[in-house]
């Protein structure tokens, strides 16, 4: 028994590989949030007046609102005045007059995370925008993409270089009034990625953003905007990690996607924010609004997410299917262990005719965690021939965790077909014994079974990501059975 405990402890201690901090001189503004802070952020980024206006409107709206409490979550009190809203780890190099050069410490950090920022070392066929704290450190392969007319840069640069595009689309899918955290993000958003794929262009490489929280006592408020014009295609990947800290860190992001006629966007996330320790101390509060607008006829959007991190996950990547014949998909694996809590799912809003959506959600709960699926399928009166298929499965490991499903349906058209299926299962002793008898140790058996259970979603991820996600599922659940 003792031996087993020490093994479990060892696993618990080593399992979050990304918990290190980078010792880099970071410019952090004073803690607290006020109109002055919003102005200061805008000023630091050298923004035009219209963007400052946008931020201030969002800030005042946020001030007038209360934090929502409808999630199946026990949210710790967030002291919004105890957080710094801007941390810039690239500042020192800039002050030394070496603005073109990136601090080697930052390069090393991303190397260590498996995200080399030198193009010659990059994963084949992937361009990366690397964001640490509030600032984009580097975006690779920009020149190569530019040849095709593709814009891939940080949103701060996009504001300067392509203001007309940013102004047209920013807040067009997720208005600042959308929800409390969207308002907060709109007021203080720092960096994130901007992608524009011009008409008829198929993006030749995977685009990806890697988000890293490093500085203590800060929040990360990134903002990503993807516009995929008529007949264009892009596959976009998002990854995230953070150091192990005793306090909670706030991450409130917005992702907006616009998909025009016949265009297709695939958005994949492997979220591995620090989940807190085995007693539920620390961890990232991941409060995110992600939404895509399928504006054009026959446009397509798929969200694929593998969520293993964060103390609390509150996110519902959604699709507004306006274009006739548009198709949306949501594939999700959410893993919770120890004291993690997840309230995640999607919204599919059918507006156009003959629109089709698919929801495949796989929840895996272990330890003392709580894992909820929350999804809305809405069919408006005009959406003739709309179809939705939803399948929500829960897998329980152990008897102290919880799995919950909250499906909402709101159908206003008689021709719509909406289907919902849900299952709950456990890994049985018989299954584990069967694996053991074939020589497969229990930890590996759990990983094998969980990966089998999640396969339908993992198969939707691009290759390298799928391999990462598989490993992550195994690691996240080590020590949970037996």
């Amino acid at each position: 028994m003792e031996e087993k405990n020490s093994f479990v402890r060892e696993v618990a201690e080593k399992k979050y590989e990304y918990g290190f901090t980078t010792d880099v001189q970071t410019e952090i503004i004073e803690k607290g949030l006020s109109e002055d802070v919003v102005r200061l952020i805008s000023q630091k980024k050298g923004e035009p007046d219209w963007l400052l206006e946008f931020r201030l409107k969002a800030f005042h709206y946020w001030e007038s609102q209360e934090q929502p409490e409808w999630g199946h979550l026990q949210m710790p009190d967030i002291d919004y005045q105890a957080i710094s809203y801007y941390a810039d780890p690239t500042k020192k190099a800039a002050d030394d007059g070496k603005s073109k050069e990136i601090d080697p410490e930052l390069m090393k950090t991303f190397d260590k995370l498996g995200i080399p920022l030198e193009e010659r070392l990059a994963l084949s066929g992937t361009a990366v925008d690397a964001v640490m704290d509030s600032v984009s450190v580097k975006t690779t392969f920009r020149e190569k993409l530019k040849e095709k007319g593709i814009i891939f840069c940080s949103i701060s640069e996009a504001v300067k270089e392509h203001p007309e595009l940013v102004r047209q689309y920013l807040g067009s899918v997720v208005p600042y009034r959308d929800n409390y955290f969207a308002a907060l993000n709109s007021a203080v958003f720092s960096d994130g990625s901007f992608v524009y794929i011009p008409k008829g262009v198929r993006c030749p490489m995977e685009l990806s953003t890697y988000f890293r929280i490093n500085a203590r006592g800060t929040g990360q408020f990134e903002r990503t905007l993807i516009v995929c014009d008529d007949d264009a295609y892009v596959s976009y990947l998002e990854g995230c990690t953070a150091p192990m800290r005793d306090e909670n860190q706030l991450h409130a992001a917005i992702v907006e996607i616009v998909v025009m006629e016949n265009a297709e966007v695939k958005y994949s996330t492997v979220q591995n924010w620090y989940p807190g320790d085995k007693d539920g101390k620390g961890g990232v509060l991941n409060l995110v609004t992600k939404r895509g607008h399928l504006r054009g006829a026959n446009s397509r959007l798929s969200w694929t997410q593998v969520e293993t991190g964060s103390a609390i996950t509150w996110k519902y990547p959604s699709c507004i299917l306006s274009g006739d014949g548009s198709q949306a998909e949501f594939y999700s694996v959410a893993v919770t262990n120890n004291y993690q809590q997840a309230d995640t799912g999607t919204k599919m809003i059918h507006i156009g005719k003959n629109t089709k959506s698919t929801i495949i959600s796989k929840g895996i709960s272990a330890g003392k965690s709580q894992n909820s699926y929350r999804g809305l399928v809405k069919v408006s009166a005009k959406a003739d021939g709309a179809r939705n298929y939803s399948s929500c499965d829960s897998l329980l490991l152990g008897s102290e965790c919880g799995a919950h499903t909250f499906p909402y349906m709101d159908v206003h058209n008689d021709t719509a077909v909406v289907e919902h299926e849900a299952t709950t299962s456990k890994i049985s002793e018989e299954q584990l014994m069967y694996c053991n008898q074939r020589g497969i140790p229990t930890e590996e058996a759990v990983s094998l079974i969980v990966n089998g259970y999640a396969k339908e979603v993992i198969n939707k991820l691009p290759m390298e990501f799928a391999v990462e996600a598989q490993k992550l599922l195994g690691v996240s659940l080590e020590g949970t059975v037996g």
């Binding site: 049985s428 002793e429 018989e430 299954q431 014994m433 069967y434 694996c435 053991n436 008898q437 074939r438 020589g439 497969i440 140790p441 229990t442 590996e444 058996a445 094998l448 079974i449 990966n451 089998g452 259970y453 999640a454 396969k455 339908e456």
Partner: protein, 248 residues
Amino acid sequence: MLEIKNLHASINGKEILKGINLVINDGEVHAVMGTNGAGKSTLSNVIVGNPAYEVTEGEIIFNGKNLLEMKPEERAQEGIFLSFQQPVEIPGVSMTNFMRAALNAKRKHQGLEPLPAGDFLKLMREKRKIVELDSKLANRSVNEGFSGGEKKRNEIFQMAMLEPTFSILDETDSGLDVDALRIVAEGFNKLRTPQTSAMVITHYQRLLDYLKPDIVHVLIDGRIIKTGGPELAMEIEEKGFEQFIVTR
């Protein structure tokens, strides 16, 4: 060589095995026959280390090693294989991934590198033929949607892949039609070598006609009450188990 000495075991506090003594030498096939509830399946579960069963007394020595001190997966890696009476379904896990994990766990135990993917798939194709398992089954999830006969063939296929030195066939004949029984039994016979041994648990002579055991044991109420040659199985087929129960 497997040696069982004075083995007592219970489940949920109820004693099922009440002092089993058994020696199975390399190259031998032993049949264990007995009534329902006599403890046949308990015996096989205890040998493979199913944690639901508690060993209260006795020992099991396998090739000089104390089996009872090993975890179930270590016993398997040491060369013990159980063809389950009711193979469990594992949805989503393909037979290919499952077998690769199993084979590589054994190779790791032996200090060998994982088998390269190409060699592994070739091995799968070769071994599949032994029990006439088609390629589609090998690509499906472990036992999911397999018929009763397919499940049993799949067990022997796994045995062929893992090349155990001691195998237990736990009522492998139950639920099999004549053709499937022949395929399973012939598959098993192809895997026999002078270095391997087996214990075959069954109610019926039918399977033993194919497998031709060297020694037959009668297990009643947790004890082996009679041991003999193949003729003992014929006698049971003719007269049933009642004669043994009466003599006690």
